[in-house]
């Protein structure tokens, strides 16, 4: 049953060290503020599931919060590599990172299976692909009617799902629209759910391709306007492509990354504070340039 609360409280009470956490959002509505709050709270040993790790998991990994990553596409979209992810995989910095690498179709189906209370999903996938040879937990199942062999993949059932949405009402019913990715499935597959939102509204007014999550499948709703930056919220903001590009040099070297995270994330109180901190630095740099 959803409670309206601060993000700090939600993270403190609902995410525990060692939890399997799915922070979803397919390019759109990525719950970056919640990611920061996990770093501030110093959560450790997380099994982090996400189709596209993106900057949010690059940071979590670089800050040493993650023991194992389950993912299907690990890049900085339109820019290049996720350097903190690569440094962890290639050099074990800041700590060893176990990876379980799957495909988009697999993880999408695995969330569906999780939401459906099934232990596994069946798909036409992985034929000829090397991933099953390298730790992807893919098995085979035979259709009892046709004899066809199909891929079987384990369901994803996170302890906690974390998403960002446009609206919630005061009861905690949540509304999102635009590219909705696997967020509905992630929430319904999870034991607990945290949703940050752009706005609390009196009544939800679902429009085109809207997804409504009833308040009783959600544990915490937290008002965090712009909480998905540098990703975007349709109707509220645009994707900050400049920040995605800026992340490349910030994340490339360990020292600069750590300094940046320390200054802007760990030393700030919340996401609004963080964004002021980053903006102030940009002004400073512009003045210095």
């Amino acid at each position: 049953m959803a409670e309206l609360t601060t993000l700090k409280e939600a993270v403190e009470y609902l995410i525990h060290d060692g939890d399997t956490v799915a922070m979803e959002g397919f390019t759109h509505l990525i719950p970056q503020a919640a990611g920061h709050e996990v770093m501030r709270a110093g959560k450790r040993d997380l099994v982090a599931v996400r189709m596209t790790p993106d900057l949010i998991y690059d940071q979590l990994i670089g800050m040493g919060c993650v023991r194992k990553l389950v993912f299907s596409w690990g890049g900085n979209p339109g820019v290049g590599s996720l350097h903190r992810f690569r440094d962890a995989v290639e050099n074990g910095w800041p700590s060893a990172l176990e990876i379980e690498e799957r495909s988009h179709a697999d993880l999408a189906n695995a969330y569906v299976a999780g939401a459906s209370g099934l232990p596994f999903a069946v798909l036409r996938g992985y034929v000829g692909c090397d991933l099953p040879k390298h730790g992807a937990p893919i098995k085979s199942v035979t259709c009892p009617f046709t004899g066809e062999a199909l891929a079987a993949v384990p369901a994803v059932r996170p302890d906690v799902a974390v998403i960002h949405a446009q609206h919630a009402d005061r009861k905690g019913n949540v509304l999102m629209w635009g590219i909705v990715g696997v967020q509905k499935e992630a929430v319904l597959a999870a034991k607990r759910a945290i949703v940050t939102v752009e706005e609390i509204v009196e009544a939800l007014q679902p429009g085109a391709n809207a997804v409504v999550l009833p308040h009783w499948v959600i544990d915490a709703v937290c008002l965090v306007p712009g909480g998905c930056h540098p990703s975007y919220a349709q109707g509220y903001s645009r994707r900050d492509n400049v920040f995605y590009k800026a992340w490349e040099p910030i994340s490339r070297e360990r020292e600069r990354f750590s300094e940046w995270m320390e200054r802007h994330v760990l030393s700030t109180e919340n996401f609004a504070d963080y964004r002021r901190s980053v903006a102030a630095e940009q002004v400073q740099e512009a003045a210095g340039a």
Binding site: F26, T27, H28, M51, T52, F71, S72, W73, G74, G75, P77, G78, S81, F85, R86, V89, E90, E101, R102, S103, H104, A105, A108, N109, Y111, V112, L123, R124, G125, Y126, V127, G128, C129, D130, L131, H134, E148, A149, G178, I179, V180, G181, V182, K184, E185, A208, N209, V211, Y232, Q234, R238, R239, D240, N241, V242, Y244
Partner: protein, 248 residues
């Protein structure tokens, strides 16, 4: 030329599952030129999207705002791709072998990679389930290799009738469009052979830029030069895109 040549291969009205980057540019060029009715689908969920500018990410707002509808990611992969509703899968690749198999996972050893690439994304199942697959990449001996370090997405795997024997629904790669020419699988063996050379490039350049002994098709010709309206459309697309993304 690569983008123009790739765009031309997309038929008007085709239902096309589009990868980000070069495939997206080519597919949108096709839509701006000879194929206004092409239906573009991105794995993030937009169906029948008509972006004015090229998306930087697979889930830019522009894609949702201009789509006929947006569905969830599971629905895209389950009902549309796996459901057999896609005519053409349009993919990029980091490495490619002679049977059109794709590596987008690692260069070097998986456990201790020389270069860690982004990984599979939607490609393995697009390669498996789309009616046919077009691949677009820049040619070099490090990209077109004798042996992949990792097979992410199966093309014709070991060649011949492997796909049919493996029970894959789609025909697999039917063309690879590079900056030098077009490679197509030779009927029977399914080995990629050079079937067209772009204006300004030569067969020997193409051979030199290929990591296996590239064979030339008997009827290998020259790719028709880009026409003015194709070049204009491509320039417009890139200009609009550059304006939009720097303004962000």
């Amino acid at each position: 030329m690569m983008t123009v040549a790739a765009a031309r291969l997309l038929e008007n009205g085709a239902i096309c599952f589009v990868g980000i980057g070069l495939p997206s540019a080519a597919a949108n060029l096709a839509r701006a030129t000879h194929a206004p009715e092409v239906v573009l689908i991105y794995e993030s969920g937009p169906i029948g999207t008509k972006p004015e500018v090229l998306p930087l990410s697979i889930g830019d707002g522009e894609l949702a705002e201009t789509a006929d509808t947006v569905v969830s990611t599971p629905e895209i992969f389950r009902y549309y791709l796996q459901g057999g509703r896609i005519d053409v899968g349009f993919l990029g690749a980091a490495q490619l072998d002679r049977f059109g198999n794709i590596n987008t996972t690692v260069i070097g050893d998986y456990a201790a990679p020389r270069v860690r690439l982004p990984g599979a994304g939607g490609a393995p199942e697009i390669a498996a389930c789309a009616g046919e697959v077009l691949i677009i990449l820049r040619q070099s001996p490090r990209a077109l290799v004798e042996r992949l370090d990792f097979i992410t997405s199966a093309g014709h795997l070991e060649g011949g009738d492997w796909r049919a024997r493996a029970g894959l629904p789609g025909k697999g790669p039917t063309a690879v469009i590079t900056d030098l020419g077009i490679l197509r699988p030779e009927p029977g063996t399914q080995e990629l052979v050079l079937t067209s050379v772009h204006p300004g490039a030569t067969r020997s350049e193409a051979e030199a830029a290929t990591g296996w002994p590239l064979r030339i098709a008997a009827d290998c010709g020259e790719t028709p030069a880009p026409r003015p309206h194709e070049l204009a459309a491509l320039r417009d697309l890139h200009e609009r895109t550059a304006r939009a993304h720097s303004a962000a």
